[in-house]
């Protein structure tokens, strides 16, 4: 089973690195966000925001956004394969449907981890390195986040028949998860807006259980003072990962068989 999955992972990694220029562009944008935008925002922070340095606050969030964007890319490929009926070729491969589905989800997650690693290293260089157990926990949590995102992206990709629908769904999910999280601003601000009735409570809850919030805050709790580690973040990430990994596997197997 592992051999077939590894072949798929290799196939998807080759595809991933075909977009090397695109990836370089994306990393440049991420770094511009950190070294320009975050530095400027540091000079505009309100004392009520609870942040003294936006650069150090944003660096962990940036690694998580990089992970999110790159792990999400697998969905676009799967959607394209579905529309171009590449699944006929996929079905002819000497592997089971389960191996095929697991392999796609896993490769999406691993690609996210590879892309994110220079951003995480940048974060460590400027914020300081965590202890070995903390580092291993960060990697494990980020891997599960990446798996969940990859699963979410594949679930959406196989559930939408046209590119327009996929792009619309992707845009909605992408930006809701991105901006409704503690990646760019502290969770306390979103909760405060919710208490004042300026932000719907459903979005406040989304921000609280958002895996991007949980992963960013976990890294902050290890590297920055004033952030306390919360075990519920891990449970939340595991639940997200399990739900969307299984959804993607079932949806992918169902659609590929139906189409075949």
């Amino acid at each position: 089973m592992m051999k077939a999955i590894l072949y798929l992972v290799e196939h998807d990694f080759r595809n991933f690195f075909r977009y090397k220029w695109w990836l370089v562009g994306l990393i440049s944008m991420n770094l511009a966000d950190l070294f320009i935008m975050a530095l400027v925002y540091s000079h505009m922070l309100s004392s009520s925001a609870g942040i003294t340095n936006y650069f150090t606050f944003f660096a962990p969030g940036l690694a998580v956004t990089g992970l999110f964007a790159s792990a999400f890319m697998i969905g676009r490929e799967v959607n394209m394969e579905r529309r171009r009926e590449v699944h006929h070729y996929m079905l002819s491969l000497p592997m089971t449907r389960t191996e095929l589905a697991v392999g796609r989800v896993l490769s999406g997650g691993l690609r996210g981890m590879v892309y994110m690693s220079p951003l995480l290293l940048t974060c460590f260089i400027f914020l300081g390195f965590p202890t070995v157990p903390q580092f291993l926990l960060i990697l494990a949590v980020l891997f599960f986040v990446a798996l969940g995102i990859s699963g979410l992206s594949i679930t959406m990709a196989v559930s939408t028949s046209s590119l327009e629908k996929f792009i619309t769904a992707r845009g909605l999910v992408y930006y809701s998860l991105f901006f409704c999280s503690s990646v760019f601003y502290p969770l306390s601000l979103i909760e405060e807006l919710g208490r004042e009735g300026k932000f719907p409570s459903v979005l406040v809850t989304l921000a609280e259980i958002n895996p991007l919030s949980n992963a960013s805050d976990m890294i902050r709790s290890f590297l920055l003072p004033g952030y306390n580690f919360n075990q519920s973040w891990i449970l939340s990430v595991l639940a997200f990962s399990a739900i969307f990994t299984l959804s993607a596997i079932f949806a992918y197997m169902r659609i590929i068989e139906r189409s075949g």
């Binding site: 370089v24 505009m44 309100s46 925001a49 327009e164 809701s176 601003y185 807006l193």
Partner: protein
């Protein structure tokens, strides 16, 4: 005809239109709203003062604040010694205080919310060395409205840039030969493409600008017309720039990366997201680039046109207007010349 073709072509990219619209709305409803709670922009001065104090001397500034006080910034960059700052409200209550220790602590800032109007007192106490001190008091600024104004210009920029990707599509599918066979000159073709690229971006962003105006909630009609004209020229200029870069690079991969990096730098080193005074405080090199960025000119003019004057540092709208005209003229001219010379001969990757 060329313009009409480009406009029609653009609206076939439904996914791009959908994605940009979702991005725009989520930027306003989520990022803009929450980030405006996080930041406190200090560029709208209410009062200021400076003094040189002898050791152990005390001096109290009286700042007559007629509207809401939002922030007090204390500059102690020339101070070599130690000292304290005490801030008293008009009714004599000590509201905030701070301690500074020489040049390592070059500024202190105190944020306020819903303060009372009247004579505020800012008391400086120098401890051991004769130094110069200054303070500035700032009024509240609405970052949300500021951000929404910049967002419209960012969206216009990213829509106008798309014409360069069309050129690669045409090269890949052999449409160039068809275009060259049309009964129009090369110059008409590239001028039409530049205008078409700008116009379609403007048509697309029009409703989004409408949303921005609704959110911003104010308008100076004459200034707005001028700013609209500036946005037109900006849009054509960006299209011309995209065409120019596309025909120089002739490789879709390299174009993709180049435009990605350019986009990252142009947007972030502009006043689309933050005021120039803050960029200046962050890094003078960043501020130097920001000052000569067409996105800065377009953002400032749009905000000026919509009446958001409390936060921008636009003393004279004529200068950014000249900057935009120069940007438009340069890239339209260069685009015409380069497109004319390089459209034939292949080499497209």
């Amino acid at each position: 005809m060329v313009v009409e073709r480009d406009v029609r072509l653009f609206f076939q990219y439904k996914f791009l239109i959908i994605m940009r619209a979702i991005w725009f709305v989520s930027q306003i409803a989520l990022f803009g709203l929450i980030a405006s709670r996080m930041v406190n922009v200090s560029v709208h001065p209410l009062a200021a003062g400076s003094i040189k104090l002898e050791p152990y001397q005390t001096y109290t500034f009286q700042a007559n604040i007629t509207s809401d006080l939002n922030l007090l910034s204390i500059d102690t960059s020339s101070a070599q010694g130690y000292g304290n700052v005490y801030i008293y409200s008009p009714n004599g209550t000590l509201v905030q205080n701070g301690h500074f220790s020489g040049p390592n602590n070059s500024s202190l800032r105190f944020d306020f919310n819903n303060t009372e109007s009247g004579a505020w007192s800012v008391e400086f106490v120098a401890v051991d060395v004769a130094d110069s001190y200054s303070f500035k008091a700032y009024g509240p600024t609405d970052y949300f409205r500021y951000y929404v104004g910049g967002l419209s210009v960012m969206t216009l920029y990213s829509a106008a840039i798309f014409i360069g990707f069309d050129i690669y599509e045409e090269a890949e599918h052999g449409v160039f030969e068809y275009l060259l066979s049309l009964p129009v000159s090369r110059r008409q073709l590239v001028l039409g493409r530049s205008i078409g690229g700008g116009l379609r971006a403007f048509i697309y962003v029009g409703p989004l600008i409408g949303v921005s105006l609704y959110v911003i909630g104010s308008l100076n009609p004459l200034a707005f017309l001028v700013s609209l004209l500036a946005l037109f020229l900006f849009s054509f200029g960006v299209s011309g720039m995209s065409i120019t870069i596309a025909v120089i690079i002739k490789s879709s991969d390299r174009f993709d990366i180049f435009m990605g990096v350019l986009d990252a730098l142009l947007v972030r080193l502009s006043t689309a997201m933050y005021p120039l005074a803050v960029v200046q405080a962050t890094n003078p090199v960043y501020a130097g680039i920001t000052s000569f960025n067409p996105l800065t000119y377009a953002s400032d003019l749009f905000r000026w046109g919509t009446g958001i004057t409390s936060i921008i540092t636009l003393d004279n709208p004529f200068l950014p207007l000249v900057g935009i005209i120069a940007f438009f003229a340069f890239f339209t001219f260069v685009g015409v010349v380069l497109y004319d010379r390089r459209i034939e001969g292949g080499g497209w990757q």
